[in-house]
Symmetry: C4
Subunit: 224 residues, 4 copies
């Protein structure tokens, strides 16, 4: 800080990352918290409240699944912005599109919880739910791929780490496709599968977690 | 930081910009996320859930339109505060007024989605929706015009860029007026038009995006 | 910053102000945005939607009144934290109590909007509304008085400014008491009065605005 | 700042604490504010609104109890992150799990308020409520214990302080267990007890407040 080197890191990261992160954090946090509003026992529960509360298990399953999926998307979003040196106009728009789908998730969640015990409707509800989860995950991958393609990633980011994050964000998409198909026959199984994908994204396996949580922020060599 | 030059940029920007931005980001993020609460299939959907989900297209159209409009307002708000050196008391109050209208948008959105298939009511709903969108956009322009008029803009901001942002925020207003009139006859077309205006604000055309996302933050010459 | 004087300003302010402000901003922003959820036309509006939308004026009045009151509380909260050098444990608890009342406001707001046209109920609704607004404003003043009493205010804060903010936060309380009494006879007038108090808090009169938005943050003499 | 001492404090704290705190603050703030949505007088209150408003006391009790519990969890969360030097992948996942339970609290709150006057259902509602509060508090303690175990705590943190925070977070759990059992017989008493636990967490007793609000941030010796 003595000479011509005025702490270049922060300004370089792009001047808008701060508010983009704040706004995205807000939308993720609100969407994840609104999920609870859709859990309700029917008006006439009265005497058999215990049974009513237990019978709500599809609501709990849907709550945990959507909470985990939005939580995983937030973790992924974190990992992505962590690697960014700056953002550009297209990135900010793609990010809005991602948020549009993430903020929409409470609706298919409620639909699934409401119709899971209805023989015909449950297939529709589970499939619709899966498609919405797939779109959210796809846009997260698109956001990351765009960031890499448009050279928004910090130059000091390890190629291996960048590759790991790409690998990490990809396989879930195939999983969703398989489960959406399965959901046409066994809807509950599909939703348990959606939950498994979310947990797969969330659980930090050793190497994978490195991709999600890069340890270094400063250029290599400065750590030593 | 050795001599008389104590990093003057941040303190100059006005000490309250931080919380004003945080509060505004919060309101925009919540308003945009609450939109989903108004999407619901009728209680008796049951057997024909697929049809019910498809029949909700006005809700989806309204969701995307309002999401895009609030998203565009947030982008515009970002662009405005980015140019500010400081805020003043009147700016903060105008900002509250803008948030009052932005936070109100979920109501006309729901109204439009609910009444779009009702021959008489749809005109009222589409017109009311358009007026609310127009008021939100107008206040965003007023906020910016006030900031320029009251010399709140950073002195190093390029005159051309300032003019570009003004140009960028203005034409939508005429568009809304035309579409509100059109909405009295063809409500759905009007709403598609509202969506088009929001997308016009969001999509970064080359030169325009410069107005929305000024690249420089430091005084000219320091980049070289 | 040359010697042993490591930028003492920020650490001194109390290490928790950041999250206290972020959490408070969040609660204010959410409470202010939830207000819109309580505006709804009755299910059977159908043909006469225009009339239904116009007949909702009590909802709009209540929305604007509560929005302005919460907005004013946020401005006052901003002014208070701006003067703080640090927070202490009791301040943080008082702040939670203030948020408890502020976050409660959507309920009396809805009550007023729902019952304003019911001859008996409107008195109850307007009085209850007024009491909740009074409690919120009182706690804001208590918070500020406590901060002054416990010497949490920055030592460089002008005594006159501190006095001005106290003056600024006080008179509304008397106004609420008068209006709550008036509300027993003319409920709508009382609510218009509540709105007037909120606007009085918000509108920046010349000297008063100085109390609300202190210009200096650094010790006197450093500006010269 | 001249030589090899590049302000080590902030980078050391772990690069993700900022967004983890912002996201957590958001979820706590939203969950605490959503509680008000579940307070409503029945549709037919009309003439006897005063009585209806008074009869809502279980809703107010539940509101205050859940508000205090979430507020206490937020304070505890603050105290925990205050001691952290950095976070790791497991900590972030445990934090998500804590938020999953905290964001769920509005549901049992509503359930308790709705069924407290129903002889059979009130036991179920109070027990369910207590279990959810217990799980939230347990996870807060688990989060803190994990942070200590995984050496995420700042090395300059006083052992005594660390022990105090552990002590502070622990006894409530036993209290919940006792009250959950009591709730099977006297549900309202149990809920008043839940409120008492929350207030115990919130009220700053002298020594305990030290555990919740460590005064020092810098290494010992630098204060002198």
């Amino acid at each position: 800080m003595t000479n011509a080197e005025p702490a270049p890191e922060p300004p370089r990261r792009g001047f808008r990352t701060g508010r983009l992160e704040a706004f995205s954090d807000g939308v993720f946090a609100i969407a994840i918290t609104l999920l609870v509003l859709d859990i309700a026992v029917s008006e006439v529960a009265g005497k058999h409240l215990l049974r009513s509360v237990i019978d709500l298990w599809p609501s709990y399953l849907a709550y945990v699944t959507s909470f985990s999926t939005i939580g995983a998307a937030w973790l992924g979003h974190n990992a992505i912005t962590e690697y960014l040196e700056r953002t550009d106009a297209a990135f900010i728009r793609l990010n809005l599109l991602l948020l549009l789908f993430a903020a929409f998730l409470p609706f298919p969640t409620r639909l699934f919880a409401d119709y899971i015990r209805d023989d015909n409707a449950e297939r529709v509800a589970a499939t619709f739910y899966g498609i919405c989860l797939l779109l959210t995950s796809t846009l997260l991958l698109v956001l990351w791929r765009y960031a890499v393609w448009a050279h928004l990633v910090r130059p000091d980011a390890d190629d291996e780490e960048v590759g790991l994050l790409t690998q990490r964000l990809t396989p879930g998409l195939g999983g969703y496709l398989v489960l959406i198909a399965a959901g046409l026959f066994v809807p509950v199984v599909a939703v348990v599968g959606y939950l498994a994908i979310a947990i797969y994204y969330i659980i930090p396996f050793r190497r994978l977690s490195a991709g999600f949580f890069p340890r270094r922020r400063r250029p290599p060599g400065r750590d030593a």
